[in-house]
């Protein structure tokens, strides 16, 4: 319970700090953010395949941003 409270406080603080940032990257400065290697969506299909394999071979969970399941090979 104490661990959960610490995690909640830590995550809450991180979220507040992250969302209250006053630095806004202007649209004209976003050319590098638009590169495929900077776009998380570029590897979405590959991540799905990795997630599928990991869910069948590892006890860990998450980290690919989508729900797994449906394999039946575990």
């Amino acid at each position: 319970m104490r661990i959960a409270r610490r995690w909640s406080v830590g995550l809450g603080t991180a979220l507040i700090l992250a969302t209250s940032s006053c630095v806004a990257v202007k649209p004209s400065q976003r050319q590098y953010l638009a590169l495929p290697e900077m776009d998380p969506a570029t590897n979405a299909d590959e991540e799905r395949w990795q997630s599928h394999v990991e869910s069948a071979r590892e006890g860990g969970f998450g980290g690919h941003g989508a729900a797994g399941g449906g394999c039946g090979c575990g």
Binding site: L11, L15, A18, T19, S21, V23, A24, V25, K26, P27, Q29, R30, Q31, Y32, L33, L35, P36, E37, M38, P40, D45, E46, W49, Q50, V53, A56, R57, E58, G59, G60, F61, G62, G63, G65, A66, A67, G69, G70, C71, G72, C73, G74
Partner: protein
């Protein structure tokens, strides 16, 4: 007469529902029309061939995916089909039961999926479904989510909910029968009067965060939680356990994961660094850490080489015994307070570590598209990925996974 009245009422109700649906659809298009100035459309078709190999199992998984903007990002449609061709000679995967002997067997799994998504100003909405079927498992998923941009579209928060409702079966090869599998404690009878069910449900909630904090730095993070209820043990693997002859895992599982993965583009070197870290924990006491690094190197205007290294470690589940020496009592359900009801031969519940080096080569076809009659290749790409896993559990010391993909924009 009474029947006619009922039918008439039903027709009226159906008519009212149709009218409401029509008004809803009209309202949707009006809302879409009010949000002008959206970026141009990009439709995309991707064909991918996935490959996985370990000591006793080979998987080939071709897949096809498409997304269509209709007419632009205010309304997007997508779908896909995946075929899993699994060839296995492992007793642990049910070979003996399925084939009636120690033979190699090949199994097919078909998966279809579809989604709709919309971006309206700073808001994003999405919903979708997935259906998967194989001889002894039916997987179904519905999911929906919404997100919002902040700080001039430099920060995005997205919430996703998913519900899986799967059906688990066991094949008796020698007997040629398929019976529901309700979990080891219920045994072969799977008596529903005692609460036995072969329905495996999962509720999933994920919150993701993406923030451009600098023209070359993107912060990404996610929090995920999942609750599963239903049979979560393997119907076949129990024959490896002398005292139990069946696996018996807890019927409930809570899982939690925290993931962070910033990206930093170094302009002069044309390199993007992507370190990742994930911590996950669950009510079965499986605590896992993943430390991963991706280095994307743009070696040419249209060629990107990616190097990857992943380190994975986990603790064992509270009920797992490496030697499969269980003091098993089939009258008990497997819980933390009654561990004698537990038995498992699942290697992914053991403590182990793995190391995964890998690389990926992506060739963007924009260069070719400048040639005569090749304009259709613009924004297309070809990608080859290969990873090799060294690990310390019973799945074997080595396994390989890779894919070849071809994508076209239209």
């Amino acid at each position: 007469m009474r029947l006619r009245l009922v039918r008439s009422r039903l027709r009226r109700r159906g008519g009212a529902r149709t009218t409401r649906f029509g008004w809803g659809l009209l309202l949707w298009f009006v809302v879409l029309g009010l949000h002008g100035g959206i970026a141009h459309a990009e439709n995309r078709l991707t064909v991918r061939g996935n490959y996985y190999r370990e000591a006793s199992t080979r998987v080939l998984a071709p897949e096809l995916r498409f997304t269509v903007d209709a007419p632009d990002e205010r309304f997007m449609l997508g779908g896909g089909y995946l075929l899993d061709v699994v060839s296995s000679a492992s007793i642990a995967t049910g070979t003996a039961d399925a084939t009636g002997g120690d033979n190699v067997f090949t199994e097919l799994r078909h998966e279809t999926s579809g989604f709709v998504a919309s971006r309206l100003g700073p808001w994003q909405l999405n919903a979708g479904t997935r259906y998967s079927t194989e001889t002894d498992y039916i997987g179904r998923n519905v999911h929906a989510g919404f997100g919002r941009d902040f700080l001039q579209r430099t920060l995005n928060l997205h919430l996703t909910y998913a519900y899986n409702f799967d059906r688990v079966y066991r094949i008796f090869g020698g007997e040629g029968r398929r019976l529901p599998w309700c979990g080891g404690n219920y045994g072969r009878s799977c008596d529903r009067r005692d609460g036995g069910t072969n329905l495996l449900q999962t509720h999933y909630v994920g919150l993701s965060y993406a923030h451009a904090v600098h023209p070359t730095v993107l912060l990404l993070a996610s929090l995920e939680y999942a609750w599963s209820g239903g049979p979560q043990d393997n119907p076949y693997r129990g024959m490896l356990i002398p005292a139990a002859e069946q696996e018996s895992h807890p019927l409930r599982r809570h899982r939690f994961a925290l993931w962070v993965g910033p990206r930093w583009h170094i302009r002069k070197a044309r390199v993007t660094l992507e370190p990742r870290y994930r911590f996950s924990t669950d009510s079965w006491d499986v605590h896992a850490h993943v430390v991963e690094a991706h280095v994307h190197w743009r070696v040419h205007n249209h060629v990107v080489l990616r190097f990857r290294y992943r380190f994975y470690t986990q603790t064992k589940a509270f009920f797992f015994d490496e030697g499969y020496n269980y003091d098993y009592d089939e009258r008990e359900f497997c819980t933390k307070s009654t561990p004698t009801g537990c038995a498992s031969a699942d290697p992914k519940l053991a403590a182990f570590v793995s190391h995964t080096p890998g690389f990926q080569l992506t060739y963007e076809l924009d260069g070719l598209a400048k040639r005569t009659r090749m304009a259709w290749l613009e924004r297309g790409w070809i990608e080859a990925t290969y990873n090799f896993v060294y690990q310390t559990n019973r799945f074997g010391p080595a396994r390989a996974l890779g894919s070849l993909a071809f994508s076209l924009a239209f």
